[in-house]
């Protein structure tokens, strides 16, 4: 039992990062109805920029956070301005394919920069473990977990209680109606991408804190997208719940099933979960069911 709980706790730490990536995808979907694959690259570039500042230039980590956020937000803004805005009015699947094109192009840049090596962030959070009820939890992962939860609360707050959030919700409902009530829809799109890119950059930095920066890092964006879809693309709560759940399933599954099937459960667990959830509840666990008309 204690081993199970230990695995579950470790999974939840990773799961909170999935949830964070999923939250930024949900943010974009909620206001622009674009499902984004490109967030995986934002994760990778967020981590890479942070490494550039604190690993390469050697400035303290709190000073490195700001330029890393600014640069990642800039990428997010450029994605929106240059590639997604020309597609407004076209079928949504075109925007989805566009984010997939961006994923490929940025993947090339990322691989080009890494040149097959890995980059490790210097330890910038306190190391070591602490114990609760016989479970040992790494401190740096726990801080990442707390930051993720805090960001979740912040994003939900912005969405629910600020004027900007109101504009975002109105835009999600109907672009034209929002424009008619005096909301500048174009600006909302830019803000959303900036906000989402910063949230993703945090996820990237927290991920790079746990593992090295290497060529598989962008694929955490696919895990994030899976979480977003399983939770329902328009539900922040779904992203949080399913994110944590997926982390637990991956870790516990790997611990208990790997000896039976010969390894690699971690790579495939997320996809099996996605297929099952899509078959049972096509709009995700917490998503709104849409009724279609001809």
């Amino acid at each position: 039992m204690i081993e199970f709980l230990q695995q579950a706790i470790t999974g939840m730490m990773i799961g909170s990062l999935y949830a964070l990536v999923a939250a930024s995808i949900v943010l974009v979907y909620k206001s622009t109805h674009v499902v984004s694959l490109a967030h995986g690259q934002l994760v990778a570039f967020g981590a890479l920029f942070f490494w550039l500042f604190i690993g390469r230039l050697g400035i303290p980590f709190w000073a490195g956070l700001v330029p890393a956020f600014v640069l990642t937000a800039l990428i997010g803004l450029l994605i929106e301005r240059l590639t997604l805005r020309p597609l407004i009015g076209q079928p949504l699947i075109a925007a989805f394919l566009m984010t997939f094109a961006i994923f490929i192009a940025l993947e090339g840049v990322f691989v080009l920069y890494l040149k097959g090596q890995t980059r490790a962030l210097p330890a910038f959070l306190p190391e070591g473990n602490f114990e609760i009820a016989g479970l040992s939890i790494p401190i740096n992962q726990f801080i990442g977990f707390l930051v993720a939860l805090f960001l979740f609360a912040a994003v939900s707050f912005i969405f629910k209680y600020t004027k900007l959030g109101l504009g975002m919700r109105a835009t999600a409902e109907d672009h034209r109606l929002a424009q008619a009530t005096g909301i500048t829809v174009r600006n909302i799109f830019s803000y959303i991408w900036i906000l989402s890119a910063i949230v993703t950059a945090v996820a990237g930095i927290a991920t790079a804190n746990v593992m090295d920066i290497y060529y598989m890092l962008p694929y955490i964006g696919i895990s994030g997208l899976i979480v977003a879809i399983c939770g329902g693309l328009d539900s922040l709560l779904g992203a949080l719940v399913v994110g944590l759940l997926l982390g637990v399933v991956e870790n516990v599954g790997a611990a208990y099933l790997d000896p039976l099937v010969g390894g690699g459960v971690k790579d495939v667990a997320a996809y099996v979960v996605l297929l099952l959830i899509l078959l049972i509840r096509p709009y995700g666990l917490f998503g709104l069911v849409k009724i279609e008309r001809i």
């Binding site: 094109a101 940025l106 297929l275």
Partner: protein
Amino acid sequence: MRPCGVFDKSYALDIAIIRTWQHWVILISALILLFLFPLFGSYYIISFMNYLAISVIVGLGLQIVSGYCGQISFGQAAFMAIGAYTSAILTIKFGFSFWIALPLSGIMAGAVGIIGGAPSLRIKGMYLAMATIAIHFVVIWLLLHMEITGSFKGLFPPPPSLGGFEFDTDERMFYVIMTVMVIMTYAARNLVRSKVGRAFVAIRDNDLAGEVMGVNLYYHKLLAFFTSCFYAGIAGSLWAHLITVVNAEQFTLMHALEYVGMLIIGGMGSIPGVFFGVLFIRILNELVMFTSPLLAKAVPWLGTSPAAALGLVAFGLALIVFLIFEPRGLAHRWEIFKASYRLYPFSH
């Protein structure tokens, strides 16, 4: 639009794909040139064309399910892998000849494709696209973890032979691959203008409206997936016996994304579009291959072997440009060109 002075005087003429004697001359001479090509082409060009033709077969399958039936699928590489493994297992472990294993591997991939297409009954759009990504990873994982597929080592299928004649070089395989490609293109071109093809288009344009019009959604979606995966399986089988090594490493998600990219660049919903897309992507890739050593010399920052990464950048940028400026792809440009030269010197 039709060439000037060509009238449909009978039903046979009305449904003909090839309308004028000039078309027949061009088609037949092109086919003859294609089959005489190994006599004067260099080894490099021939193996490149083999690769092109196999990509065309996969692309045709994807065109049917994505371009005509509107179900975006990122699973094509996985179904190609199923075809390749089926063919390899049938020939190595069960001693089938290649000529029987080829259609069987197509049917096997198609059967798995029906299972893979089952989510399409309830979900569509990007949900389905994500489901096919999931299917890709599950299939590749299974292939890597099963006993019969040789797990990480892979399989080594023999080259095909016919009456003692071994198709063991790229020049010899060229004939097999090109024959299959021509047959598959002919079949696809006719499938999409049949009753079934029109049902596919109805589902793509509006599935609810199609259902109201009497199109059986489930049957036709599954049929589209079966056909598409059948094509992928055939291509996989050819691929396996061409390079005589089958390994799950050859079928990555990036390959599946590449096939979707080919359709975007070539044009969704057009059989010639597949050819344009495949040519564009593969030639772009070769160009990057050739120019990247020069670039690496000029810009030392790029490192020693930037070819793969630069290829991704070029591919991604090409996709972005096409999605913004010509979402209907090269096939649409080709139609515009055809219309303008038929009307020349008038503008319309």
